[in-house]
Amino acid sequence: MGSPEAPEGQRINFEYSETALADWSDKLRTIKYEGHNTIRSHVFWGVHEQLRSIWDFSRSPNLRLEKFFSAVQKEGLCIDLLLGFFSDRRTFPLWTFETEKQALIGGIMQEEGNGGFSLVEVPSIHEKTLWNGFLAFLEELGSIVSLYQFPEGPIRNIEVHFGMYCSDLNALSGGSGLEALRARYKLVERMNRVYQTAFKDFDFAFSERGMKLLTNKRPWLSCYDYRMQRDQLLDSVIERFQREALGRIFSSGSGISIFKGRKKGAAVSKCAVVFEPVFLESSVSGKCFPCFPYGYVNAPAANAFRLWEYFKFHCSKNEIGLGSLPLFEGDSCPLNEWITLICGPYLSRGSFRCLVTHLEGGGHIFFPFGLPKYDEYMDCLDWGLKANFIQYLADFGRVGQQKKSEGTIWVTSDNVGLTEDLWERVRFFHSTMKEVVFGR
């Protein structure tokens, strides 16, 4: 089900709740005159529900939704309506902050953050009262929206966003389901063997205190496990939403999409510098944040984040794409012909398969920090390489090369190190490699 999306250039944001009612028609007319045909508008739950279960869709002048939809229709425009959970204070009604379960969202919240590191507490999607309250709000909203959906009305698409909870650092607290972790390890003894710990059950192992110990022991693996379980929890929330609400609340006239906030793999195909993703959380605003479960800082994630920021700056200056590999198996990911892969000794199976496919297709990979050796099961990664690399001398040290399938793997022989001239050294290694392969 879906209505066609307007091309990017013809869509523009317009927040009716931030604009005086008297100005709507003028502003919409201007938008139309400037060549746009679709507006994107947020319906902020927190703005329409100031008091619990009392919804304002007609009392406050600039919240009169029907008037807004009529004004849009009158100007011959369409609307993409954005609902759900955004990195914005207007998302949540005040009463939801009194609920027990809180999510911890890292990074910079739009309009709130002044930059720097912070963890913002917001009501958790796993809190029953919040969930029921949100559905009740949607029911009320749906009764209005359904009158203005395409083709009779201007609402062409409805987007429901859950992406903020993609980077919740508190997702496993308070006994949230651990099915994915139980399925992965089967027995707590197996988990203890991998982590070198002595937990009696999964619940305590992945509690706040347990997670701190797991992260101290095996930071990469603990972040992988945390993200895997959180991802599964969010998937189950979205499935529940589709089952309980979607078809019932909104009619099929408009296109309805659910956004989980995960980056699309297609974008990575233009990236020449690619990161192993376990330590890097992506916020919906596009910013990156290190994976610090429950807010506990761990050095490897902090280092990965600093590297990300460093490469992002230099890649942007040099117009080079920067991206990250998929984490889990099943996510497809076409890659650029030449990639520099920033990673440590661990690589998930999902990421590994992506790289193998890339090499089989004639791609080239440079590992400036050494070849990763282990996956999430602590099994050795089988690169199928011979013992000896052909060595080349670059300006900053030696780099070894081996053919693999139709492509090549390049690995530095000496430790690259995290110094401020890292970018220059990586670039010179890169030009050495390209000279060898292409003779220029």
């Binding site: 100031q50 406050s60 002048p61 720097g116 912070s118 590297l307 460093y310 995290l418 110094t419 401020e420």
Partner: protein, 266 residues
């Protein structure tokens, strides 16, 4: 004149209450782009600063700022040879990052200044979860003085429901509208309409009463002209402090004389 939406604010007892805003001065809040413009108008366009954020001995952020451009670094900048630049160190005390509520009160300093200058509010208000330090000491003393003057200025702003601060920098200006209720800051912001309104009404008229008529409530106008202090030799912090002190002395409790607009070239 219509009514705006209900806005939450904290009253004197810290309880969250709601008030209606008047749509005529329903300006959007100060966004990061506005704050950047303001930063340049305030004379910090070339101001350089290094920053290190850390927690539990782990470096989180290391950056070099020149005005609004920032360059990430990999290590502690103090380890660079001959390092002697203005530097802010922010350390999260404990093993975890600071948790903040989504809706929280910000000081005027945090509203007006972009990161990392906004961080200094934590040191100046003695927040215990962060340790923020600045070097050299002279610069830190300058910032402390600016904080004191800004606090006095806010006390002045709080006397009136609406205040329009026009910040005139070397190359451009920006208006900021402040809204206070019972001496508590409710909102501050700017908008294109505010700029146009200000220029339209004030360029063609020397009657400051027009502002009060426009907003239907007593409005005080504060022209902050940084050009008059820009020629003085000193860092932008001191220039801004001097300009604010001058403004406080000139304005008193009276509305500013209309001839100030002519001085601004409006």
């Amino acid at each position: 004149m219509g009514e705006g939406p209900l806005l939450p604010f904290n009253d004197e007892r810290g309880c969250v209450r709601k008030m209606k805003s008047i749509s005529k001065y329903f300006t959007p809040p100060l966004m990061s782009g506005d704050r950047d413009r303001l930063y340049e108008c305030l004379g910090f366009g070339e101001f350089s600063l290094w920053l290190l954020e850390s927690c539990d001995g782990v470096i989180l952020h290391s950056r070099k700022y020149i005005g609004l451009t920032e360059e990430p670094l990999l290590g502690d900048p103090r380890s660079l040879k001959g390092f002697h630049h203005p530097f802010i160190s922010c350390e999260f005390l404990g093993e975890r990052l600071k948790k903040s509520p989504l809706i929280s009160e910000k000081t005027l300093w945090e509203e007006l200044f972009p990161f990392p200058i906004s961080l200094l509010a934590s040191a100046l208000t003695n927040k215990t979860e962060l340790r923020v330090e600045m070097t050299p000491v002279g610069l830190w003393i300058d910032f402390k003085r600016l904080w004191e003057v800004l606090t006095l200025f806010e006390a002045r702003l709080a006397n009136s429901e609406l205040n329009l601060l026009w910040v005139q920098g070397k190359n451009a200006g920006i208006p900021i509208l402040f809204h206070y209720v019972r001496r508590k800051r409710v909102r501050l912001g700017t908008s294109k309409e505010l700029e146009e309104t200000g220029e339209r009404h004030l360029k063609n008229s020397s009657d400051i009463q027009q502002l009060t008529d426009l907003f239907r409530v007593r409005t005080i106008f504060y022209p902050l002209d940084l050009r008059s202090v820009a020629s003085c030799d000193g860092p932008p912090v001191r220039n801004l402090t001097r300009a604010l002190e001058g403004l406080l002395q000139k304005s008193g409790t009276q509305e500013v004389s209309p001839c100030s607009f002519q001085e601004l070239g409006l």
